[in-house]
């Protein structure tokens, strides 16, 4: 064999985890990582809910559980409960048997699977390549996931509005009114990453109206149901509203955040259709087999156990509410600190949305200042994860942000 490598052509790709690696290497005693994806508790780590640990222990000692291949589409009890969670138990779509769910490897897996289905089936095409509309900004991997599935034509609708430090529904409606007919639109039901910004129910009604009018197809993402408002129903309202209008849709759900099951990769892809359910289901099976054959059981088992048991369900809902409330409390305390530090800025936009993520409207130089000089790591676009702020670092973070804004940068 020649001295050359067959991998010669492969170009080096800098890791997207660079920020995390830099943080790990940083030895500064006051360093804070506000760029992580996971919810961290007051103690600074991710943790299993006590209920989750208990159930995992039960699973580990249950002699009746066998290590069989799960069904390709996942554990039926899991997909059933995940579907009910998103749509509501008494959703007409469920009653009419127009829905089915697939257990996936996290939210990314759900998006990828949905993308594969759209590419091969959308609009009677055997190779639909778009256009698909994503929010601007959005998670860095989203565009790549659709493109990897062959949907090359990725476009953006305006979401975050720097002027108002929030989401501007006028912009969204305008962009959707001008979108090509029948294009697919990725919508965040709640927990938008990276901004955390949300639409009100009134806003959603307007968005849904345009979707119906222009025959646009909604692909919902709901990465943290329950963590934003504290209410499972409220966080899923946009999806339920669209279903009530008769729209067909896909919905990618994650149980990473609301169960603390990050490592276990528990995701769900929900299909709401008008007809031809079995055929679409068979296609989904076909794609799953080319991706991961069948999904991992552990995490989904935990979720199914909780969601099927009334007592566990109540316990879990309270944990979720507690997380949501803690995030809201941190936002309020941060706003208060910043207000007290003075200056011409307003901070109401910090407390408006709920959940993990928040956009501070900082520019590139200000972000760089925070990372390089204050060892506070946040995303390059100025978004951060509020859960990583706690009583020990709140003052430091607030003062540093104030400094970043005040200094002539």
């Amino acid at each position: 064999m020649s001295a050359r490598s067959v991998f010669d052509g492969a170009v080096f790709m800098p890791s997207q985890r660079k920020l995390l690696e830099d943080f790990k290497r940083d030895t500064h005693p006051d360093k804070v990582n506000l760029a992580g994806r996971e919810y961290v508790g007051e103690h600074g780590h991710t943790t299993w809910l006590p209920l989750v640990r208990k159930i995992k222990q039960q699973i580990a000692t249950d002699p009746t559980l066998t290590p069989e291949h799960p069904p390709i589409l996942g554990i039926p009890e899991f997909t059933r409960r995940a579907t009910e969670l998103a749509l509501g138990k008494d959703s007409p779509a469920i009653m009419e048997s127009r829905v089915f769910g697939v257990q996936t490897v996290g939210c990314t897996g759900a998006v990828r699977l949905g993308a594969e289905l759209l590419r091969s089936c959308y609009c009677s095409s055997s190779s639909w390549s778009g256009p698909i509309l994503l929010s601007s900004p959005c998670d860095d991997s989203l565009a790549g996931t659709f493109k990897a599935a062959g949907i090359e034509d990725v476009q953006y609708y305006r979401y975050w509005d720097a002027e108002s430090n929030g989401v501007c529904v006028e912009n969204i409606v305008h962009d959707l009114e001008n979108a090509p007919e029948q294009c697919v639109v990725v919508l965040f039901a709640s927990g938008h990453r990276p901004t955390g910004a949300e639409l009100s129910q009134e806003d959603w009604k307007r968005v849904a109206e345009v979707m119906v009018k222009r025959q646009l197809f909604p692909f919902f993402l709901i990465p943290a149901q329950g963590l934003c408002s504290g209410s499972l129903e409220q966080d899923a309202w946009p999806i339920r509203h669209c279903v009530s209008l008769g729209l067909e849709l896909l919905c990618a759900q994650s149980f990473s955040h609301n169960f603390g099951l990050y490592g276990e990769r528990v995701g769900h892809l929900l299909y709401v259709l008008k007809q031809n359910l079995l055929a679409v289901q068979s296609q989904a099976e076909k794609f799953v087999q080319t991706l991961w054959s069948c999904p991992p059981m552990e995490g989904a088992r935990v979720v199914a156990t909780v969601l099927s048991n009334p007592a566990h369900l109540v316990d879990w809902q309270e944990s979720v509410k507690a997380i949501a409330e803690r995030c809201m409390l941190i936002r309020e305390r941060l706003r208060e600190r910043l207000r007290l530090l003075g200056g011409p800025w307003h901070w109401d936009h910090i407390i408006k949305p709920g959940g993990l993520y928040c956009s501070f409207g900082l520019n590139t130089q200000q972000v760089e200042f925070l990372v390089q000089k204050k060892h506070i790591y946040l995303l390059p676009n100025g978004c951060l994860n509020v859960s990583a702020i706690n009583s020990r670092n709140l003052d430091y973070v607030a003062e540093s942000i104030h400094q970043a804004l005040s200094s002539k940068l």
Partner: protein, 411 residues
């Protein structure tokens, strides 16, 4: 009102799952399932390896565990210990720092990531025309994984000789010779699925010779290491030989069978490159591919395997558990052959003990298979493939007699 998905066609069901579904619905008390691809005990039950039970409890009780997303490429201690299992503890390639790995969703996931990488970066950039060769026959999902990764030209290479019920070496070598240079060949590391027929060491050497000369890419699929002969090193001989000859290669490893972890999707894509620089570039691109496929792999199974492989007493216990499974399969092979010979069933049955691993290509034709399924309620694949694990001391007589009937009464 028309659905956007109104014209989506029904996809064909996967044969082996349909077989199992039919088996489940069958009410006959003597029914036997020889179709499924999973290990069964002599009581025909799935088996949770004792070492797995032990480690599962350890994990559930461990309060020090990190619950974050795993790194995109997976749990580091899982990746390195898994590659060591494939290549050997003292592999020179590992010592040279030119071996890396990606934790994947089972063997399927490992094939997927490897295929996606090769399509993007091998033999040019985004070269979807590089021929991919899979054995005739092969695991039914190989074709779909590579085709879905974008490869347009997936071809069979001669492998199974139905006439002599063994390897068609001449045909195999011929297809290697006539393949365009740089073609990708999917090789079964051991316990070929579905035939159970592996090349001998000498035959592997001949295969490697041609592949080296024609710069063909070796993509090993290793789903049965340890399970085939009962010995991890023996089952890894082919992969290690290729590495020793200087090949750069991929090895998609599955721990579903040898750990009995079918449900936790534990796989590893081992990458052997010319040097560390090439390795790093490859892994960096694979990270990007993983990120837009499943983002991060699941932790449970990988933790379990890593703890087991890295703890001497647990590792020893695991090897023992693996040998238990392999030995039971070997016993069933020996007994089935004996019974068929004792019954005087026409034909030769040596291939039953010559073949290795979970599966055996019995050589039964479709009509005979249909007879077994319909008349005797013995479920096997239309190809004549049986899963030896479906045989037990309690049903082996019935199966042997039924095969005898099928062969003597159905042509």
């Amino acid at each position: 009102i028309m659905s956007i998905f109104g014209e989506v066609p029904q996809a064909a069901p996967v044969a082996v799952f349909k077989l199992t579904a039919d088996f489940r619905e069958d009410q006959n008390p003597r029914k036997v399932n020889l179709g499924v691809g999973a290990y069964r005990t002599d009581e025909c039950q799935p088996w949770v390896l004792p070492v797995v039970r032990k480690v599962e409890k350890m994990i559930a009780d461990d309060h020090s565990l990190n619950h974050e997303y795993l790194p995109i490429l997976g749990l580091p201690e899982f990746r390195s210990s898994s590659s060591k299992i494939a290549l050997g503890e003292d592999s020179p390639a590992i010592k040279d720092n030119r071996v890396g790995a990606v934790q994947c969703l089972g063997g399927t996931g490992a094939l997927k990531i490897g295929a996606e990488f090769l399509r993007r970066w091998y033999n040019g950039t985004d070269n979807t025309k590089t021929p991919v060769y899979v054995s005739a026959p092969t695991w039914e999902n190989h074709n779909a994984v590579f085709s879905n990764a974008g490869f347009e030209d997936i071809r069979p290479y001669k492998y199974w000789d139905a006439g002599k019920r063994g390897l068609d070496l001449e045909g195999f070598l011929g297809d290697l010779e006539s393949a365009p240079d740089h073609s990708i060949f999917v090789l079964h590391a051991c316990a070929h699925n579905p035939t159970g027929t592996d090349p001998t060491q000498d035959q592997w050497k001949q295969i490697a010779d041609v592949m080296m000369r024609k710069s063909l890419f070796a993509f090993f699929d290793s789903a049965y290491q340890g399970f085939a002969s009962g010995n991890l090193d023996k089952d890894a001989w082919a992969v290690r030989y290729f590495v020793s000859q200087g090949f750069e290669l991929f090895c998609a490893q599955s721990f579903s069978k040898n750990f009995g972890l079918y449900n936790e999707r534990v796989g590893n894509l081992t990458v052997v490159a010319k040097d560390q620089d090439n390795l790093n570039r490859v892994l960096s691109q694979m990270e990007k591919i993983v990120r837009i496929t499943w983002s991060n792999p699941p932790s449970q199974g990988a933790r379990l395997v890593a703890i087991t492989l890295n703890t001497p007493e647990l590792f020893a216990e695991w090897k023992d558990n693996v040998k238990t499974m392999a030995d039971r399969v070997l016993l069933m092979r020996a007994q089935l052959k004996e019974k068929l010979k004792a019954l005087g069933t026409p034909g030769t049955w040596e291939h039953i003990t010559e073949q290795i691993g979970m599966f055996s290509f019995t050589g039964l034709n479709p009509k005979q298979v249909e007879y077994l399924v319909k008349e005797k309620h013995i479920y096997l694949m239309a190809s004549g493939r049986i899963n030896m694990c479906g045989l037990t001391t309690k049903n082996i007589d019935y199966v042997a007699e039924s095969i005898h009937e099928a062969v003597t009464t159905v042509q």
